[in-house]
């Protein structure tokens, strides 16, 4: 039972078939001039157009990158390069590491982090205050958080950015395919693997008026060496499939996550993180006092249940998760669920039956005191 689909969802048969068809028909190098190449080129262009349409973007301003991570790096570097004289980047405290690292690198350390409240919403006053200083090249605020699911109030974020004439980069890598695409952005990054497409592909969309310069040697080529055409086709088909069932699926997953949130909140010493209402339909994180996250994950894995974690204990850096620290949640004993459309009520029944026993066992083993 796979409940860790945030960032990498299983592919459906239809997507796999599209991938295979792409290998059969789109194997040629799309940049050459013969008919085999033209066929690959047509597949690539049609797929990119379909993805652009779903994002509410223009195909000619929608670029493919080698990963969402690479897309974030390139768009941050490219937009920054076009803002000469402005050398600071402002980002919310819950952005992805990829965003933070790229911003820090590109701006030579001049990265300002704007705090979030206990539910993960960026502090709009603090953001506006930072943007009012006329040295900001770029603001990065995600659409929805990949760990805790909180959806930002992008209309108000965009208002603040527009008032300061600062381009707004929206990381939509956790949200596209799970609900309506965000409308308020100057640059946007999406992750096909998150909506059930193949991994190893990132999408960058820019508004026609968003200025950028190639901060790399390959000019306007965002994916030097080219992308895998069958992967782009499969990504477009997967997104199409998600959109056909979007209303029904997101409503159902929203209810399943609401069940998990309610149940977990009733367990002693368990803290459910993120906004209960303004959230992704399919993602939740909760943290369990006195529980070692790694032990929890491996115990669930032995029971055939795959979940994710944001626990410090499971990373090599031993630094607590920045996202969880930003909202004041525990650094340990975290369980992150990301539901894909194939998850059933029965799966959640089983999880909710299993978890309290596993948590109690692990607390016993750790010699943790009873929780009143």
């Amino acid at each position: 039972m796979f409940l860790d689909a945030s960032g990498s969802a299983p592919m459906t048969n239809r997507t796999l078939e599209a991938f295979h068809a792409g290998l059969a028909d789109g194997w040629a190098d799309p940049s050459r001039l013969h008919s085999e190449s033209r066929r690959a080129r047509q597949l690539l262009d049609a797929s990119r157009e379909a993805i652009a349409e779903a994002l509410g973007a223009r195909p000619e301003h929608t670029h493919l990158a080698h990963s969402p991570h690479a897309g974030l790096e390139r768009v941050i570097a490219g937009v920054f390069a076009a803002r000469r004289g402005r050398d600071r980047i402002v980002a919310s405290a819950v952005e992805r590491d990829a965003t933070m690292h790229a911003a820090h690198h590109v701006a030579g350390g001049a990265l300002t982090v704007v705090p979030v409240d206990a539910r993960g919403h960026v502090d709009l006053d603090a953001l506006a205050e930072e943007l009012a200083v006329p040295d900001v090249a770029l603001a990065a605020v995600q659409h929805a958080n990949h760990e805790i699911g909180t959806v930002q109030r992008l209309d108000r974020v965009a208002e603040a950015a527009a008032a300061a004439r600062v381009p707004l980069l929206v990381d939509a890598t956790a949200s596209i395919g799970h609900g309506p695409a965000p409308q308020h952005w100057d640059a946007l990054v999406a992750n096909p693997a998150d909506w059930g497409g193949p991994a190893g592909l990132g999408i960058v969309a820019l508004r026609p008026q968003t200025r950028w310069l190639p901060a790399w040697p390959e000019g306007d080529d965002w994916a030097p060496g080219g992308v895998l055409v069958p992967a782009v086709l499969a990504a477009a088909v997967a997104l199409q499939e998600r959109r056909e069932l979007l209303d029904e699926t997101s409503l159902r997953l929203h209810r399943l996550i609401a069940r998990v949130r309610d149940a977990a909140a009733s367990w002693p010493g368990v803290d459910v993180v993120g906004d209960p209402d303004e959230r992704l339909p399919h993602v939740v994180t909760f943290s369990c006092l006195y529980v070692d996250g790694e032990a929890l994950l491996s115990r669930l894995d032995r029971e055939g249940v795959a979940v994710g974690s944001g626990s410090a204990c499971t990373t090599s850096t031993l630094e607590p998760s920045r996202v969880l620290a930003a909202v004041g949640a525990l650094s340990h004993g975290n369980v992150r669920l990301g539901l894909h459309p194939g998850v059933t009520d029965a799966d959640i029944d089983r999880l909710l039956d299993l978890l309290p026993r596993v948590i109690a066992d692990l607390r016993d083993e750790a010699g943790a005191p009873e929780i009143a």
Binding site: G269, L289, Y290, A312, C313, L318, P320, A325, S331, P369
Partner: protein
């Protein structure tokens, strides 16, 4: 692990030495030290795992106690203090 310090004022003071321990052990030791203590007791956790900076305030919030603050120590690491309610 927990050591009672000389009682100062009304509430007692307790120090929990969790240096070298990785999460979640520091707050397990904190919770053990808190058991049966009077309201007003101040417990200071000495920790080298940076996760404790997140976990001790979160523990206080989740268990209804008060997080007082964080200080650097003379040794490696930090001292995090909670007041029991």
């Amino acid at each position: 692990m927990a050591q009672d310090d000389a009682a100062a004022g009304g509430g007692g003071r307790v120090t929990v030495d969790a240096t070298g321990m990785l999460c979640p052990l520091p707050i397990i030791e904190l919770a053990k030290a808190a058991r049966g203590r009077d309201a007003g007791t101040e417990i200071t956790v000495l920790a080298t795992d940076l996760a404790a900076r997140v976990d001790v305030p979160a523990w206080a919030r989740m268990t209804g106690h008060e997080f007082v603050g964080e200080k650097k120590t003379d040794g490696p690491g930090i001292a995090l203090t909670v007041r029991l309610r």
